[in-house]
């Protein structure tokens, strides 16, 4: 087997749609009609998505080769076959949606350029290629699948308890399709600034600073406990002639469910793993991607593959119940996709074995638990003392954290726990609650420099 090399970006080339020169940006936006971006909310007003995060991920190349909001034919192709019109595989509809009222008030048409404002400042443009209508419930249903159409992995019909389904269901019915361009580069707040490695930058750091030839990606939306740490360490033993040189943690940052940990604690919790030597920084680095998580298990795993291949990873670890919530999908759905494919979702073979597919190599992993007989943290496929297993349960840990009990170091590293407490003191709460969601939604993770819109 030849040595593994960094794969090319998905689609061949990283998307870079960020205008850095102020004069060029000003010319682009002169005289444009403007639209202030709004969050997608539940009927009770709770924010569940902010399209600015998708615009960031598109323009900085995380979702390469996607360049903007999809036209209707592309939306249909993604829903039917999980492919773009350019043939490259892609899992999710990426849409710029507005309400009927906003559309009427905007009075824009195909060929126009619309300036998208954020926090009162110019942020990005969309060059309108097409305007069409969707039935959001239909898009939501087809995005995630149904037990009838996708019997391989869908176990229950999706409903309002599924956060990803609800995000699509709450999309507005008018879709404005076209390429996004960021015209006013945002400034990141702490601590997000430290972890911002868009794909081009991330590839450069991997190659020139870290000097990693092989890198395995770890998906996270959690503060890591020792079970996660063992997953990272052990999955990284894959590679070629040696274990993977690097472990790239990529946190998904966006609207969260109540009861999850705040984004800041997630990032700094993972950082503590390397800062305090549990996996030394020479081998471990923490990054994030903006995305209001859709919890789409196998579908989400495809997006994870796209993002991390674009960031320069050679491998991706996938656990049981990957990016899942509830029991809508088979708990092995992601692993089924990456080991044999899911024909009803357009994959007769795994996503890295089809034409125009991914090049990142999956590493499917089972579970870790503490075994009192082995007296170590054991791998479920190795340890034969199943009856004696002591599982790392996220909800058990949440209970311990809320009660103010210091977790033992074999369960959660003390330095990681202290990051939870640090942000607990800031927000007066250890987990995401409504107040946190509303505050995050108003303040966002970024600020925008002041910028005038010149007259045409």
């Amino acid at each position: 087997m030849p040595l593994i090399k960094t794969p090319p970006p998905h689609g061949g080339k990283l998307v870079d749609r960020v205008v850095k020169k102020r004069e060029i940006a000003e010319k682009m936006i002169a005289g444009c009609p403007t639209f202030e971006l709004k969050p997608t909310t539940l009927p009770d007003g709770t924010p569940i998505r902010h399209v600015y995060r998708e615009i960031m991920s598109v323009c900085y190349g995380f979702f390469s080769p996607v360049e903007g909001s999809m036209v209707q034919n592309e939306l249909e192709r993604v829903l039917n076959e999980r492919r773009l019109l350019s043939e490259w595989i892609f899992p999710y509809p990426i849409l710029f949606d507005v309400s009927e009222e906003d559309y009427k008030a905007l009075n824009v048409k195909e060929g126009d350029r619309l300036l998208l404002m954020l926090k009162g400042q110019p942020f990005a443009t969309i060059d309108i290629e097409e305007i069409y209508k969707i039935d959001p419930v239909d898009v939501a249903t087809r995005t995630f699948g149904t037990p009838e159409k996708n019997p391989e992995v869908v176990r229950e019909p999706f409903n309002d308890k599924h956060p990803g389904y609800v995000i699509y269901k709450m999309h507005n019915p008018v879709i404005i399709a076209g390429k996004y361009t960021i015209v006013n580069e945002p400034k990141f707040k702490e601590p997000f600034d430290r972890f911002w490695f868009p794909p081009a930058k991330c590839r450069e750091v991997i190659k020139n600073e870290k000097k990693w030839r092989t890198v395995i990606a770890h998906q996270t939306r959690n503060v890591p406990h020792v079970g996660h740490e063992m997953l990272m360490k052990c999955a990284a033993y894959t590679g070629d002639i040696e274990p993977c040189n690097g472990i790239l943690v990529n946190a998904i940052i966006g609207a969260k469910r109540r009861g999850d940990y705040p984004d800041e604690a997630i990032l700094e919790g993972h950082e503590a793993v390397n800062k305090y030597g549990y996996i030394k920084p020479e081998r471990h680095m923490v990054t994030f991607t903006f995305w209001d998580m859709r919890y789409g298990n196998p579908i989400e795993s495809l997006l994870h593959g796209v993002i991390r291949q674009n960031m320069g990873c050679t491998h991706h670890m996938f656990g049981r119940d990957h990016a899942a919530v509830g029991e809508y999908y088979d708990i092995y759905a992601t692993q089924i996709l990456w080991s044999e494919g899911i024909p009803s979702f357009g994959f007769e073979a795994p996503p890295n074995e089809v034409d125009y597919g991914l090049k990142i190599i999956p590493q499917n992993m089972a579970e870790f638990w503490y075994c009192p007989v082995c007296q170590e943290i054991a791998y479920s496929e190795s340890c034969g003392h199943t009856d004696a297993k002591q599982k790392f349960s996220g909800s058990f840990l949440r209970g311990m954290v809320a009660e103010g009990v210091f977790p033992p170091r074999v369960v959660m590293r003390p330095e990681v726990y202290k990051q939870i407490v640090k942000w607990w003191k800031v927000y007066n709460y250890p987990f995401v609650n409504r107040r946190y969601l509303e505050m995050k939604n108003k303040e966002l993770e970024i600020d925008l420099p002041a910028m005038e819109v010149p007259k045409a």
Partner: protein, 115 residues
């Protein structure tokens, strides 16, 4: 099938039950690093708990999780008072108060006093 509530013993709580018959019932997990007492909850009583707290759920190990801190603290208080694990009825007597206390926890939980 009965469900369970795990009551974690940190040093402070351990002092309160030291020397009582409860000491023999301590479960040691994770190589002895985690001490806990396990309260068995018959199914009809765990249903009451799930109904009272909307976030509460049974995890894959059969443990009742995501209940308010006030509820967990009450379980330990009753254990310490009775020096017994047979306390779930006592806790359920306080359920209305605990539901009220739990509602406030959506807004504020005091952080622990560590640096």
């Amino acid at each position: 099938m009965p469900h369970y509530i795990s009551v974690i013993l940190d040093d402070e709580r351990y002092e309160k039950i030291k020397g009582t018959p409860l000491e023999e019932k301590i479960t040691y997990l994770f190589g002895g690093q985690l001490k806990s007492l396990i309260v068995e909850v018959p199914e009809e009583k765990s249903e009451k708990i799930l109904k009272a707290f909307d976030k509460a759920r049974i995890d894959s190990r059969g443990y009742i999780e995501d209940v308010p801190v006030a509820f967990r603290r009450a379980v330990f208080e009753e254990i310490a008072k009775a020096k017994s694990l047979d306390v779930i009825d006592k806790v359920l007597e306080r359920l209305d108060d605990l539901v009220e206390a739990g509602k406030k926890e959506d807004e504020y939980i005091p952080p622990p006093e560590i640096e």
